[in-house]
Subunit: 394 residues, 2 copies
């Protein structure tokens, strides 16, 4: 390659898609601090703090609480690859894209899948889950998505985990989009293997996947009959590095700087407090919702089942959804998300996650969206969205 | 967790272990630039540049040349999980830690392993490899480590790849420690699947693993009889995002900021030029070697087989190697590496990788090591190391 490549200077976007979300300047600054060794005693001290801060975020005392050194999909795979052995029966709930990905994970681990399917945009139906648990007394695991990023639906994790426990089933729970934005109460739920991502309501850079395993789940991992099929994600090995022993054993080279960033992002969450963060996400959601509904734009998910941090809304009749997103990005440096899978082309996904969940973003998004839709002669009500949103704040 | 956690301010170390190596301030600055979306058109443009720059670094025109979104171990697993199907026979060369890890990968993919073992600290013996290829005409793959990070030995990749081709075998080559520091000529070698890391001679932050696959290897991946056991690392899916189509399909959320850093690190390599970088690594190695040998410290690997960027040297008689590393870290903020596996306790591994391969580091390391060893009354010659090193530079 002979051509000289210029420096990459990214534009300053406002990130209101399904993630990554806006990253705090404090987190970006921490990210760029000098790299030190992954076995440096000072780094090991920081790792311990990250574990403690993640326990706070997950509301758990699980000793195995740590970030996997790769994005959320790898956190998902960590849970399945460590807990599923060939022939194991797993009940997988699907009400959006990520339940389908869970199914893929089970199949690739050699497990047998029992699907519990619900309409995209609805929550996981606990009655169907109970029926599946009763019909499959040999099931080892129940897997479901708490916060379905593809639709914005929030399922009742407490009930689903209770049902699983009553049927001697372990649970795998996807909290990629919920952690930090809505209650994720791992110990209160009695969840067994829970994974998340850093680029949603934690407002950290993408690339890490926090996970937490109950002692019960860890025992299952330790007593497997077959080796975990992934060397990189095998918790029996990873724990030699992330475990609590004084001696850290080299497994892989940790993404040192990304962990600086996660440390700072979790410090910000701790400063604000979980309850305050949940309340902030709810308030900004209510304001955005009031503005969108005033314009005449409706939600995919019914009231009460919605995630405040991920608003899947219906594209107005006759509007080219991709053209709107392009106009927002190019004209306003504003990113909102497209629909995924069954909802592609029909919805937008507007994120209000972590650092991005604030009044400025709500008002800016409503104003920009109204401007773009008006320019396209879309059938919306004009001049009412901002007032409606402001009424929520006052 | 009630305790408030303080900001983490890492010490400013000099990183002369087996990686991570010193990261250029330019790379750290790029790392902290504003996060944008992983499907943002501007980001996609940057991804294309990263692919081109990696082709330059790997000296290849392979279309499938990209960074895996996780550390080097995941790059290794990407190669094995995509190319090995259950029952496939794989010849694995082991002359240090990482050959053993390759073996583990094959076993976990359900493959059958034929080991070719050489003493730690020696190179892979091509005669033994040829014998193994002849004895196993049904072998599908030959896997070896070009630059053994645990011992500092550099094997003859050109010859090993040629032998494999002559026997209709694909090759998997570990270039984690060589890429950017010594010649890695993927197309000239005719190597098929090659992986590396960002935190060695590329002097980028840890967390990404560049890989390149020949068209021949990619065909094998596309024509598998069984699905790749890892969803996260399945190239059939990853290529929907990293491939060359205009439309990028969401697979996982890319580690956006780490990719900014890799882009900048590869720009630095391009500016210097590969040949100049190799020459710099060789010069600083010769200077360090002259200084160490003047002190009376010898190398593990015989002359001619050594990696200039990873100097495995013998701990002087009666010296507590861990105490020396601790004194260097605490007294001089200087990190050097311990021995791994069979060499633990007996050697140090002194890295001169990427940005860290410079005269200042060579002289600083020699001076600090001499000071610490003298304080411990180690049997070394004093007052000669710096002069010997400077003679190489003059």
């Amino acid at each position: 390659m002979a051509d000289t490549v210029s420096p990459f200077n990214p534009p300053q976007r406002t990130l209101m898609g399904p993630g990554p979300s806006d990253v705090s300047p404090r987190v970006l600054e921490a990210l760029g601090r000098p790299t030190i060794g992954h076995l440096d005693p000072r780094f090991v001290e920081m790792m311990e703090e990250v574990k403690g801060l993640l326990q706070y975020a997950f509301m758990t005392e699980n000793a195995l609480t740590m970030p996997v050194s790769a994005p959320g999909s790898a956190g998902m795979e960590t849970c399945f690859a460590n807990l599923v052995e060939p022939g194991d029966k797993v009940i997988v709930c699907q009400n959006g894209v990520f339940g389908g990905r869970m199914r893929e994970n089970v199949v690739r681990c050699g497990g047998e899948v029992v699907m519990v399917e619900d309409e995209w945009g609805t929550v996981v139906n606990p009655h169907k889950v109970e029926e599946a648990l009763e019909a499959n007394p040999d099931a080892k695991l129940l897997a479901f998505v708490h916060a379905e990023t593809s639709t914005g639906a929030q399922s009742d994790a407490a009930t689903l985990c209770r049902l699983a426990r009553e049927h001697q089933c372990l649970t795998i729970v996807d909290t990629v989009t919920s952690l930090g934005g809505t209650p994720v109460k791992v110990d209160e739920w009695g969840a067994d293997a829970v994974y998340s991502g850093t680029q949603k309501c934690l407002s950290c850079v993408p690339g890490l996947s926090p996970v937490t395993f109950s002692d019960r789940a860890l025992e299952v991992v330790k007593n497997r009959k077959t080796p975990v099929q992934s060397w990189f994600l095998d918790l029996n090995l990873v724990l030699g590095y992330w475990g609590s022993g004084a001696q850290r054993t080299y497994h892989h080279t940790a993404p040192v700087n990304s962990l600086y960033a996660l440390h700072e992002a979790l410090r910000i969450l701790q400063e604000e407090g979980l309850e305050a963060s949940w309340a902030r996400h709810e308030l900004n959601h209510q304001a955005l919702k009031a503005g969108l509904e005033a314009m005449g734009i409706g939600f995919v998910v019914k009231e009460g089942d919605r995630l405040p941090q991920l608003n899947a809304v219906t594209v107005p009749e006759g509007v080219d959804e991709a053209a709107v997103r392009k106009a927002l990005l190019e004209g306003f440096n504003l990113e909102i998300g497209a629909g995924l899978g069954a909802l592609a082309g029909r919805v937008w996904r507007i994120g209000l996650m972590g650092h991005a969940s604030n009044r400025r973003n709500v008002l800016f998004c409503l104003a920009a969206l109204e401007t773009v839709l008006t320019g396209m002669k879309a059938p919306i009500r004009k001049g009412v969205a901002v007032d409606a949103a402001m009424a929520v704040y006052s």
